[in-house]
Symmetry: C3
Subunit: 420 residues, 3 copies
Amino acid sequence: MSRTHDAAPRQTSSPGLESFLADYRPGWTLSGRFFTDPAIYQLDLDRIWKQGWLFAGHICEIPKAGDYFVLNMDKESVIVIRDDEGRVRALHNVCRHRGSLLCDQPEGHAPRLVCPYHQWTYRPNGDLIACRGMQEDLDKSQFHLLPVAVEEVSGLIYLSFAESPLPFAPARDQWEPLARPQGFERARVAKVADYVVRANWKLVWENNRECYHCNLNHPQYIKANFDHYNADDTTPQLRDRMTTASVELESKWAAAGIAPRSETGMTPFPDADRNIWYSANRTPLVEGYVSETMDGRAVAPLMGDYPDPDVGTLRMRSLPNFWNHSSCDHGVSTRLLPLGPEQTAIRVWWLVADHAVEGRDYDLSKLLPFWQLTSEQDWEICERQQRGVQSSAYRPGPYSTTKEYNVDAFVRWYLKKLKA
Amino acid sequence: MSRTHDAAPRQTSSPGLESFLADYRPGWTLSGRFFTDPAIYQLDLDRIWKQGWLFAGHICEIPKAGDYFVLNMDKESVIVIRDDEGRVRALHNVCRHRGSLLCDQPEGHAPRLVCPYHQWTYRPNGDLIACRGMQEDLDKSQFHLLPVAVEEVSGLIYLSFAESPLPFAPARDQWEPLARPQGFERARVAKVADYVVRANWKLVWENNRECYHCNLNHPQYIKANFDHYNADDTTPQLRDRMTTASVELESKWAAAGIAPRSETGMTPFPDADRNIWYSANRTPLVEGYVSETMDGRAVAPLMGDYPDPDVGTLRMRSLPNFWNHSSCDHGVSTRLLPLGPEQTAIRVWWLVADHAVEGRDYDLSKLLPFWQLTSEQDWEICERQQRGVQSSAYRPGPYSTTKEYNVDAFVRWYLKKLKA
Amino acid sequence: MSRTHDAAPRQTSSPGLESFLADYRPGWTLSGRFFTDPAIYQLDLDRIWKQGWLFAGHICEIPKAGDYFVLNMDKESVIVIRDDEGRVRALHNVCRHRGSLLCDQPEGHAPRLVCPYHQWTYRPNGDLIACRGMQEDLDKSQFHLLPVAVEEVSGLIYLSFAESPLPFAPARDQWEPLARPQGFERARVAKVADYVVRANWKLVWENNRECYHCNLNHPQYIKANFDHYNADDTTPQLRDRMTTASVELESKWAAAGIAPRSETGMTPFPDADRNIWYSANRTPLVEGYVSETMDGRAVAPLMGDYPDPDVGTLRMRSLPNFWNHSSCDHGVSTRLLPLGPEQTAIRVWWLVADHAVEGRDYDLSKLLPFWQLTSEQDWEICERQQRGVQSSAYRPGPYSTTKEYNVDAFVRWYLKKLKA
């Protein structure tokens, strides 16, 4: 179909992309246009955001048939709803009559989706079941709500705007055994925080893909984690310390059946050559920490199937829009959605066990600070970088081969997708 | 002239329009670009807003020579002023010296228009009469303010940016006898409300051209009016009820000499085939209502020449920017002006007889709610629709042949103008 | 280099400029596009703002090594800093690693410029001296901060983005003897006011280049100054009065060695034929005034080398972004920076002798009003004009040959630069 209102084919033609890439140098940062140009932004939407799998939210947010939430991305609006059979559906939030939004609240409960304009009425699976006032011969089967592909893995909901989405099974196969014991499908959302970050989404990812910046920017994070130690920083003593922590935990986890795979330090991700857009691992926290909290102590009851607090952190990430760090007692999900060349909408969720009661079992003032501080420190970094790369004096610079190999891996993955 | 600063001829060329119309299907809604694309917006300005007759305001707002108000449309600013001979003039609000705005207040009194920059001074008819400091040989006759065509009908002021405006006489001939008894030229403005509605102006019209949406969206309006009853809704009993109301009133009005023409239900309008951009009729209110108010009772003294309250409602509308509903005791005018592809400035006036005194003869808390509620209900609908038609998932949908024939008529009129 | 992110070569091609100039008529104002069109704005940036010398700030704002302030222009950000050897440097505020802004505060003290992202560290002269975490073989000499040309004259700092800047010496040679006695390098900034004026920068200059508008718009200014009297206004008596004032002062100043050059009325400036973008003169105030203040009395201690208050006013101006009026006791600098086709950032500084102490030697309530009122009166004028020239009804108008010759001179200078 050629009727999307902002397809702008001329702007996104290959010649344009080639000119943007003329001065690209492997191992160096992208040129400034990639973070500011509307044509590149449109390419990003078309070839990455509308082709890949996007994290949308959590199963536990829509427990009953008719429960829904709305996801807005750029000009798109999608209703994620549990249907009458209990399946999760994703439907474009656009009435087939005259195009009104069906749901203008961010979340709610709707046994039937009734358009507020003329009351065309749809089932949660998208079927049109009533359109009072229309001609008798109107064939309702031609007017179901347009669907968006949807998948679930361990309580996480993903959607894809692609007509032929990438296979989701490899991600599910890898994540299921790692994420199952966390019990996300039996979680409660303790808090959601929404941010509008004035930076291109790629700068947010580049920031996420290295801990070179952690030492001075994330005083809380580095107390809990090993991953700011890279190859060139690790003394033999430190390496011993990390190995010891890993070996001990791995055997313990293996005995408990909860952890097939552990890595210390920064996990290599993504992998452009093998088209790997998802990754998960479980890794030790530093000695004395059982949770990513200000003092390392647990701040909520154990989640899921965990037998004791000593489970390190589960980490998951998927391109282009998700990461999660989970400790024994809580999990934190982060979702990115592009708002324009220079803006990204970011939502952060804090999840606890569904039986946990605020005030009795957990306290937001202890649950939130670790990731609230760490996240907001990063958003500030990204906004400062966005302002710099706009300058005519910005020149691509070299990545550290020991500390920024994953940023380079991200750029390579990105460019491969963009050229696809 | 080719010097308008945003003529952008490439964007508004016919090839562009053809591509926008490639998937147009008669009887169905327009594609999303018509409500979002800057090139279409420019076409709308050039071929509709700058060619047609625009309602500007009421004669009673500028009773004395030198009284003026300013109308801003897109980048244009126009002074509507009563000149020394008592004629209403419309003049571009732009000094001929260095282009400063002459009047930066929305309304006022100016026996002479004096530019605040260097005091070039104009008569209210636009003649330059003083420009102290300029060379002696400057020919003042070459520097009158640029005029805008202006017409009046029954106390309503219209203007046209066109060099050769459409004939106005047919509209005046139709409206005069219907509107004269309302006495707009002897009215008082009781209240003005200004809105910025985040929707394309065409969505506002599409909303205006059907009452399919009234039942659930306009609980106040439908209590007073018959026009949500369309062909398919009317039972024989209801049809009898409407006919009875009409016949009774028509003979009564004919006796009083005030109503040449009555229609119940939605008036067919506009008429693309006959190029009809104006329409007026008088129609009964439901039994027990003498005014479009919350309880149907009059809330102000009789206006104009009305002998008693039983005059139904006078309704007028003209494309692209005006409608008015008037009862025996008050009239409500609505004016649209485009602010961009996705924004429309809307002003609503409430008028009463000029001898009415607030607090004694009328009370705003009783005068305003009926149309304030109904208007704001519609703006909310339009904004929701605007958000939906931006989606790549928006697909043109079918109009109801029994309830949305006037929306389809609007679209046909619009496309005919656009292609002209 | 072709990698600036918004080079947009098609928009700024000569054919475009020619079409903009098609209806230009010498001695008349520019057409509306020059004040609204993004393509013209880009040309203005490329050919004027990035080619000329821009006033940045005052030497006295950065007295010690490591003191800095940041200047933002359009997408550019520049650090103006005093280096370890005491020289003033201007450096692009963009880290050579990943492009982050180095300084995000408007001013401060930084013995070393440390990037907040990964702590790459630079000397105030721009040399990269540390980049912990990078590969060993990285050649630091290839990653100095990109420099911006910088010059000083009598305590004023200028910078140029040009690769081969215009010669600065002629400006320095003319200004030095005139400005030296004012002692700007030994001044204190008593106050800074920042404005965002919704007008194209050229309208601000056109306003500056005539006093035709002064009589009604600047009641304070005209009490202190002669320059609203132009050729056609001066009666023989007035001319005698001005000549007397000049002759007396010139001989007095010559004796004191402080004033090589005096002009009354508006100084002819700029001079397109001779490419003169800078100008300074000293001129008498009206009888009874020794300072540009509300009542003409000095409001602070004598500045610089002045032997007594009777020094008239020193006036300097340079295109495209600076003017200064200085009296015996204080100086007022104004700096323009473009923010877009329809917005200009303006900063106004009030300077006094560095030994003056607020509350004891001067009082802001007496120091500020004269130029605060005069400046804000002008910004309001410019914003009104900007709104007018956007109209399709704006037509170029004629300049007064007796009162607006300098505005015409500005336009001729501007067009010569634009075509260069």
